[in-house]
């Protein structure tokens, strides 16, 4: 009875590994194990190879361990001294050679993938160039080919290679869209990183900041939205259209003086804070308050999110640099008015 239990104890974790692997858990828009593009797929293939090798190693080691522990327990009355074995040259050579062989099996495709995925596309005319700038705690995306800048939602055309150039405006962050590609750090000027991925299927993918960057590191999320080439072109045009300001002229004035000193809408405002053009149609407010919409089963109405954010930005993202609108002298009604305006500011491109 005891023996069987010992065996089961060794095998159970293995079975757990297999079953969990087979179920390939996680969300399609987030999980590394459900890759949605060729780059992530390549990385996933490498993982599968290494996991397979490693599980074989584990099975062998666990099996020997289980056998030894059961077979060579000290039994009652066993008093003769076991033979003092020095070692065994042949065996030792075998377990030096086998790991070496396994390492080679893994090293070859690893090096291949490193060089394949390290391709520099920054001069490729067919690729969409995107400059990513990370800030505490938001993401800025600039499309130099189209002269468009946006924030938090990265809109990309499906099937096209997207060539990224990454940099940070303050501390180190790391740009990560698990289901599309591995992460890459955003360094300050002088050590800019480049990499690329593409998304064959339309959809919204969750992106994260993977490098500890301060208090709101956990809340520095973003979305990658892959749309058809047609929609993408429409989106670019919409982004370049003149700004839409609040209809109420008084509110528009307040918005201009208080918000547009840092933020931009359309052709107006500044580049210090996230670009607000079409913000009502984005996947989230401030990256972390999910808006209701397709694929966001847990989202709130965008207006509620906008109000939550504007009434107390610090409680949503501690340590962010946006001043509390109340401290700027805006009344609750005015804040609600701006929230409503922003929530309704949507671009029509899908």
């Amino acid at each position: 009875m005891m023996k069987q239990w010992q065996v089961a104890k060794r095998i159970l974790p293995l079975l757990a590994v297999f079953s969990l692997l087979l179920s390939a858990c996680g969300r399609e828009d987030l999980s590394v194990m459900k890759p949605q593009g060729p780059v992530a797929q390549g990385q996933y293939d490498l993982m599968k190879l290494s996991i397979t090798i490693m599980i074989v190693v584990l099975i062998i080691v666990f099996a020997i361990a289980a056998y030894v522990l059961i077979r060579f327990r000290r039994r009652a009355g066993q008093n003769e001294v076991p033979e003092q074995v020095e070692g065994n040259f042949k065996l030792e050579v075998i377990w030096t050679a086998i790991p070496l062989l396994l390492v080679i099996v893994l090293a070859v495709p690893t090096v291949k993938t490193i060089f394949a995925q390290g391709e520099d596309l920054s001069n490729d005319k067919n690729a969409v160039q995107v400059k990513v700038t990370s800030h505490q705690y938001w993401w800025e995306f600039t499309y130099p080919q189209y002269d468009v800048t946006t924030a938090q939602d990265l809109i990309i055309p499906t099937g096209k290679k997207i060539a990224f150039e990454l940099k940070t405006a303050d501390v180190l962050h790391s740009f990560w869209v698990p289901s599309l590609a591995g992460k890459m750090d955003t360094n300050p000027d002088g050590t800019l990183n480049k990499f690329s991925f593409s998304a064959p299927n339309e959809g919204v993918y969750r992106g994260k900041c993977a490098e500890l960057c301060g208090r709101s590191h956990a809340f520095m999320e973003f979305k990658v939205k892959a749309v058809s080439q047609e929609s993408f072109d429409k989106w670019v045009n919409e982004m370049k259209a003149p700004a839409v300001l609040p209809e109420d002229t008084q509110l528009a004035e307040k918005f201009k003086t208080n918000c547009l000193s840092c933020h931009a809408v359309g052709d107006q405002g500044g580049p210090v804070a996230p670009n607000l053009t079409g913000i009502g149609g984005k996947q989230s407010v401030a990256g972390i308050l999910l808006n209701q919409g397709e694929g966001q089963e847990d989202g709130n109405p965008v207006l509620d999110n906008m109000k939550e954010w504007l009434h107390d930005p610090q409680s949503v993202k501690p340590g962010n640099t946006m001043p509390n609108p109340k401290d700027l002298g805006l009344t609750d009604e005015e804040i609600d008015g701006i929230a409503e305006y922003l929530a309704n500011y949507k671009l029509d491109y899908e």
Binding site: L30, V32, V61, A65, P82, L91, D170, L172, D185, G214
Partner: protein, 616 residues
Amino acid sequence: MDWITTVDHKKIAVLYLIAGGFFFGIGGIEAILIRIQLMKPMNNFVSAQVFNELITMHGTTMIFLGVMPIIFAVMNAVVPLQIGARDVAFPFVNALGFWTFLFGGLLLNLSWLMGGAPDAGWTSYTPLSGSEYSGTHGVDFYTIGLQIAGLGTLIGGINFLATIITMRAPGMSYMRMPMFTWTTFITSAIILFAFPAITVGLVLLTFDRILGANFFDVAGGGNPVLWQHIFWIFGHPEVYILILPAFGIISEVIPTFARKRLFGYSSMVFATILIAFLGFMVWAHHMFTTGLGTVANALFSISTMLIAVPTGIKIFNWLFTMWGGQIRFTAANLFAVGFVPTFVMGGVTGVMLASAPADFQFHDTYFVVAHFHYVIVGGLVLGLFSGLHYWWPKMFGRVLSETLGKWTFWTFMIGFQLTFFVQHFLGLMGMQRRIVTYLPNQDFDLLNLVSSVGAFLMGVGVILFLVNIVITTRKPADAPNDPWEDGRTLEWSIPSPPPEYNFKQTPLVRGIDAYWKEKMAGHTEMTPAEPVGSIHMPSATPLPFVMSVGIFIAGLGLMFSKDDFGNAFMNGLFNNYIVVIIGLLITFGAMALRSLYDDHGWHIEPEDQDEKGVRT
């Protein structure tokens, strides 16, 4: 007073154990708080700021102030005995190493009480750890506290090198040294080469933060990636500083309880040296996503994978040590046996992480958190538990309760697997590390709960160990020389606990596992290599303590040298570096005293040499 002035390696071992245990407890409480916060999505048990302080202090405390000192405790307690020496090479310096570690650790933890703990992660990447983005004194406590504590480690490492090179008993050639002594030797060599790197790094960061230098500031011509290189050139060997002693412990415990000599001794030695060498060649695998370029990534991928080879040799040698033996499952051996598969788990995920393109996905996620906890907790902490249960009777003359020891093992082991196994999957499912909370419905919820429950169970295991210590301490100290009956190395040939001078007569070593060899030849004790004679002992002295207090004061003074206290007297004291100067004067004064006053020590004459140990 006796404890403050002692220079005896056995008492210093106890001091290290108590202080290391204390910090280990603090680090453990921090871990539990982290797991409470992450138990459910969008939890607000602690604020984001406090969470960052908790993760930073948990990592820093556990690595530098928890497990390292406990390793040093075991080394101090065991190595001189294993090589047949009466103490370490420099007993005074040994005491100094302990006190600088303790005061560095206290300084670091004072940050909780003095306006904010460090909050930039235990790796303290710049610019986040620069004064611009980390405005409190937190990171100053990190740089200066670790600097002082690191001094102690470096001193200790050099001392062990000198001890092992010069003080082995007659007949103990290098290839007859016990495995734990070997790993201590190699570990000390790694310390000697790795700690200067972190020392330099911490000095540079201190200069940036306190004196306004620009080493890591891009605007001033610095480069934040430089910090990462310096940190990991130290940081990766540090992993081997931690794990090699555990390898050594396992290599002692498994042969004893299998009643067989270690399989493939020379390949074990060779593997240890190779691991140490490769440990310095792979630091950049922590930085694949930093953007080193394809060539660097490829080279560091391969060099990292190569570490699997010597490690594999070790694992199979342990398994074949037990093959054909008579295995006894004492608490110490349970931990050692549990170590093997757990460490293999940590090892294989290490190879997976070495594949750079795959690492782009693993890096900075819970997969990495799972991996290094499998190595450090599943490897080192299990190893330490094993070693403590094994050598406790030698250190204190009392055998720990076996029943409680087994309970400790099962609760800790099951808790550990629950906590960290699921974290592999959390990482693969897209959960990045160091996040204060996460949104619901990302499939993170259940696994995080499981992980937290496991952490509580590990806490129960540690508490059971403490209970075991308390209960055991109240029993009489009546352990025999060789309580496990199958002790193989020299420490089991002398009383438990050993007398002040360890060996009345230096033993003659005739082969590997010297004591076992004598026992097999029908002897009950070692053949002496010298006649009974007067034994020279070093004098006790409070100077190491005083020196460390001086450094501590100087550190505090430097940290607050730019502050405005709103009080002319305090401002005058700190802003003019007067406190720094006072602290340094105390230290240098004690050093001068030590140099000028010629202390010849004292002797224990043959008629005063009692057989049994005199301390608890």
